[in-house]
């Protein structure tokens, strides 16, 4: 009984990021936990194990900054992979922001930037939508020509159909739209998804737990909420959520895992 995890950064194994050392030393008085503390505390692992599944980072295909296209491709890849045991394994799905999309940033080449279904782990294209790419065509297309409400509807509808597929074939899944409930609460008037529950716990639970915990150890931490001092900018440039690969310390991961487990119990 193995848990396969596919999602964006919130689904990745927890480690410190490449800006952790600078952020921790310069802005957090070296109080933040390092890899020896946070590694292996990811909420996905805690939730999967609480449900009785084996968790192994090798079967975690989540990718920071990816798009829903990438996530959906990886789910298909799992479903078409002989290593996935449809009888007993479970797919944990962590959708991302619908503003992200993939685009070709370089010319096709031999075995380069070419889509092959079996090459799933590394996205074969670049991802835009949540940052400026520097390519004027892509940035203008994203800013002016994409209808973000339509993209959001399409993402919900696509995942709803995916969950229908998994239900039809009795494949265990756990759908975790923590991003959507936190940032895109807006429902789509007239549309009723069949399988998606936007009462799922929001990531704010984990963020809030981290801030509450660490501000007790850091006398300037409250500026992140008050935001009135000149130097409060450091907390926006180096928020705790950017210092860990899945955006939480062990504190945030524990709090969020507990919220998800409570949610599962309340639904069962």
């Amino acid at each position: 009984m193995r848990a396969w995890v596919v999602g964006d950064s919130f689904g990745t194994p927890c480690l410190t990021t490449d800006i952790w050392a600078e952020g921790n030393t310069n802005y957090y008085n070296d109080i933040l936990p390092d890899d020896s503390v946070v590694q292996g505390t990811e909420w996905t692992k805690q939730v999967a194990e609480s449900l009785g599944y084996d968790y192994n980072a090798l079967f975690n295909l989540s990718h920071p900054g990816c798009s829903n296209d990438y996530i959906l491709h990886n789910i298909d890849w799992i479903l078409n992979n002989d290593s996935f045991d449809k009888e007993v394994d479970m797919i944990m799905i962590i959708p991302t922001n619908s503003s992200r999309f993939m685009y070709r940033s370089e010319q096709r080449g031999i075995n380069k930037n070419i889509f092959k279904f079996m090459d799933n782990k590394t996205p074969h294209l670049s991802t835009a939508g949540s940052h400026i790419t520097g390519d004027s065509t892509i940035d203008e297309y994203q800013a002016l020509y994409r209808d973000h409400e339509f993209e959001y509807y399409k993402a919900i509808s696509m995942y709803d159909k995916l969950l229908a597929f998994l239900s039809l074939y009795d494949i265990d899944y756990m759908f975790c739209p923590g991003f959507w409930v936190g940032n895109q609460v807006a429902t789509i008037a007239g549309y009723k998804p069949q399988f998606i529950d936007i009462e799922f716990p929001a990531y704010e639970i984990g963020f809030g737990a981290d801030i509450e915990h660490y501000k007790k150890q850091h006398d300037q931490f409250f500026y992140i909420r008050q935001g009135i001092e000149d130097h409060e900018k450091v907390y926006y440039d180096y928020p705790i959520s950017d210092l860990y690969s899945n955006h939480f310390t062990q504190i945030g991961n524990n709090a969020y895992a507990n919220a998800v487990i409570d949610y599962i119990k309340s639904k069962s």
């Binding site: 296209d69 279904f117 994409r146 339509f150």
Partner: protein, 260 residues
């Protein structure tokens, strides 16, 4: 027991197009059939009625030049609104290169319940003359990837329909047409619900080409092929076929259905 049709131009009710008069008089010697013959002859109607469903233009939501996004939206809307359990949904997907983009001169807000008109224009099948859109489509979209995503999306939709015991007929006649490109990029992926043995539109289009040659009483030779391509029969009728093409294609689909 109604048949609801949602698709691209191949799904629309059939009449002559705006190019018909010119092409018919200048190239086909006035011999091609007009609306008195082709109207009401669409293969979708023939297939729906052969399966025992009522067909009416009012339940045909197909739209010329539309994208798969638009087709999927209409399906969602229909299932949430007017569809009854005894009805059938006939789905006619289109090519994956089409996509929708905002018309900056006439921005319309997306409203799920508004399916009367598509709220954004469609690119991918035509040059829009908007540099950003045309460049994005040409240089930055991975068309193989779009094709895989399209197949996967419709495959999941069909699971949704099966799960809810909704009767459907999925008609990927566009996808099964002869193509030059190989599809090795899909190696390893097996759709669960999509049958790529569905009859290709080539069947109807070829029947019409033979029909046109019979009308002209000669083969369309290589030197004038460019004229034929320019005035292709397929462009002179809204669903791309005369009554001959529609009859032939409907028979092929019904035969396929009976085989299954």
């Amino acid at each position: 027991m109604k048949a609801w049709i949602i698709g691209d131009s191949f799904g629309v009710p059939n009449i002559t197009s705006k190019w018909y008069d010119k092409a018919n008089s200048e190239f086909y010697q006035g011999l091609l059939p007009g609306n008195d013959i082709v109207k009401g002859n669409e293969w979708t109607k023939q297939v729906a009625e052969s399966l025992g469903y009522e067909y009416s233009i009012a339940t045909n939501f197909s739209s010329r030049g539309c994208s798969n996004e638009s087709i999927l939206h209409k399906i969602d809307w229909l299932l949430d609104n007017m569809f009854n359990s005894e009805d059938i949904l006939i789905i006619i997907p289109t090519t994956s290169n089409r996509f929708m983009y905002k018309d900056l001169k006439h921005i319309k807000q997306f409203k799920f319940d508004n399916i009367e008109e598509i709220h954004m224009p469609t690119a991918g099948g035509v040059n829009t003359h908007i540099p950003v859109i045309d460049e994005y489509n040409t240089l930055h979209r991975d068309h193989n990837y779009e094709e895989y995503k399209m197949i996967s999306t419709f495959d999941k939709l069909l699971s949704h329909l099966k799960l809810h015991k909704i009767k459907y007929l999925f008609c990927p006649g566009m996808w099964t047409c002869k193509q030059d490109q190989d599809s090795n990029f899909l190696e390893g992926y097996t759709p669960t619900n999509i049958d790529l043995t569905f009859p290709a539109y080539d069947i109807g289009l070829e029947a019409d080409k033979d029909y046109a040659e019979n009308l002209l009483k000669r083969k369309i030779n290589a030197e004038e092929k460019w004229i034929y391509d320019h005035f292709a029969v397929a462009d002179l009728y809204t669903n791309h076929m005369t009554h001959i093409g529609n009859n032939t294609y409907a028979e092929a689909v019904i035969e396929w259905f009976n085989d299954k």
